[in-house]
């Protein structure tokens, strides 16, 4: 199979608009959690979230008009706008602007979302109920469909290769990058714009995720303490929003044009728990098999892994993942660093796996493991370094990024520092 490398990244995260600003704030211990003020939350059990910093576009703020005309934004839910922004950034970062027929047809798009335009669907429902079907906008459907992130990006940049999308809850972003890598490896495309996007911070989503007992509800008065993976006082995840997009490229294609290479995508594993709709199985077997498959594909063993970007949502499932990792790495536990960046940016659902894969690539680039914030009192003992509170400088050549979603859908990516043969 052909080799696949990451040659560009783009990100809209709760820590900032842009990969580098998000990364530098993450390493500095930035924490994006705050009380939600944009809509009524007093009657909701969870009143906090990690919102992207909206602003004029300066100092790392996100100014939607910079990325999509206002009249176009009105027609879509924000998950599409975030994806457009992150894709623009990633393509610019990669220096890839296909203009010939050949290059446009060799470039595809695979962007997923966990829940897509939930808020717009709610609004559309009110319109239908209160004003009748004749008042429903012709943009109601195309502005909410999850694959329209891929569609809109392809239209803007004239990318005429494979156009695809993924919907696997919180594993979406990782599956998108893994599947897109396979399309390149198998020769169906030379370049893929891949990742995940999500704009879930609205009343129905906060109410719905709280109803299935997934959200933190005990730290509403102290939001920055709420996302605390592995800590004894964790009580659920904090919802985040944003998009992460990578440019994946066939190695020789990237070398031929002198592209910078962040890392090589060497492994991808997938598995199903076949256990419960929202909870992982106690034995962590799905997670274990998923990581194992990714390492096998990479031709690596657990002893080669330096850093793991955990799924680590700050729920009870954290220790199940940790147990699966301990089973996987065995005697290598003490040389591995594993952190959950959700402690800083919350859980971006369908965008999480993509944003975290980018963080993993940057961990390799800069030889530093980002921190797990709020890890004051780990609920279990482990030999694995969970990188509490502050980033750790260390050699990182191989990183593994985990994503596990509702429905028992698991994805693991393995990235390796690119070395010329």
């Amino acid at each position: 199979m052909r080799r696949v490398v990451i040659t560009g990244t783009g990100m809209v995260s709760p820590l900032g608009c842009g990969t580098e600003v998000s990364w530098s704030r993450l390493l500095a211990g930035g924490n994006a959690a705050r009380k939600v003020t944009e809509f009524e939350v007093e009657d909701l059990p969870a009143k906090i979230a990690c919102r992207i910093p909206f602003g004029d576009g300066f100092d790392g703020t996100f100014h939607a008009d910079d990325w999509m005309e206002p009249k176009e934004q009105r027609k879509v839910d924000p998950f599409i706008t975030y994806a457009m922004a992150a894709a623009d950034m990633a393509l610019a970062d990669a220096g890839w602007k296909p203009e010939s027929d050949e290059d446009q047809i060799a470039t595809g798009v695979l962007i997923g979302s966990g829940i897509g335009g939930l808020e717009g669907i709610v609004e559309g429902g009110y319109t239908l109920r209160d004003k009748g079907p004749r008042r429903l906008s012709p943009f109601f459907i195309p502005g909410r469909l999850i694959n329209l992130a891929s569609g809109q990006v392809s239209i803007r940049h004239k990318l005429r290769g494979p156009n695809h999308s993924v919907v696997t809850a919180c594993s979406t972003g990782a599956h998108a990058i893994g599947d897109a890598s396979r399309l390149i490896a198998l020769g169906d495309a030379d370049v893929m714009v891949a990742g995940g996007t999500e704009s879930p911070i609205c009343r129905i989503s906060l109410a719905g995720f709280a109803a299935c007992k997934a959200l933190s509800t005990q730290h509403n008065d102290d939001p920055q303490r709420a996302s605390r993976p592995y800590d004894a006082d964790r009580d659920g995840f904090v919802m985040g929003e944003g998009a992460g997009i990578v440019i994946l490229e066939e190695l020789e294609h990237a070398k031929a044009r002198g592209a910078k290479i962040y890392a090589e995508v060497v492994g991808y594993g997938l598995s199903g728990d076949a256990f419960h709709i929202t909870a992982p199985s106690e034995d962590g077997d799905g997670a274990y098999r998923c990581m194992q498959m990714a390492l096998k594909r990479a031709g690596l063993t657990a002893a080669d892994v330096d850093y793991i970007n955990a799924h680590g949502t700050s729920t009870m499932a954290d220790t199940i993942e940790l147990g699966a990792v301990e089973r996987l790495v065995g005697d290598s536990a003490s040389r591995i660093s594993m952190s959950s960046t959700k402690s800083a940016i919350g859980h971006l659902l369908g965008a999480a796996g993509a944003v975290e894969a980018i963080f993993s690539a940057l961990a390799i680039r800069d030889n530093v493991a980002p921190p797990t914030l709020n890890l004051d009192n780990p609920s279990v003992e482990t030999k694995i370094d969970l990188v509490p509170h502050v980033a750790r400088k260390r050699e990182i050549n191989v990183a593994l990024s985990n994503s596990f979603g509702f429905g028992g859908t698991n994805a693991s990516l393995v990235l390796r520092r690119y070395k010329a043969d």
């Binding site: 206002p70 009249k71 004749r134 008042r135 906008s137 012709p138 943009f139």
Partner: protein, 78 residues
Amino acid sequence: MSDIAERVKKIVIDHLGVDAEKVSEGASFIDDLGADSLDTVELVMAFEEEFGVEIPDDAADSILTVGDAVKFIEKAQA
């Protein structure tokens, strides 16, 4: 310009994000103002809402310019 024409013009400017000077009586939504077929459906809905008139689909198909819209609404309200 009549009051109706002014209000039509404002809707067109808001929905299509075009400069006011481009929105002349004879301007075609699709050929001159960059609308696509879905934009024109939304425009017709906005006219219905603003003026409290019903524009049936066959009539909507014949509203191609700013002037067409103004004429239809004036007639519907007469």
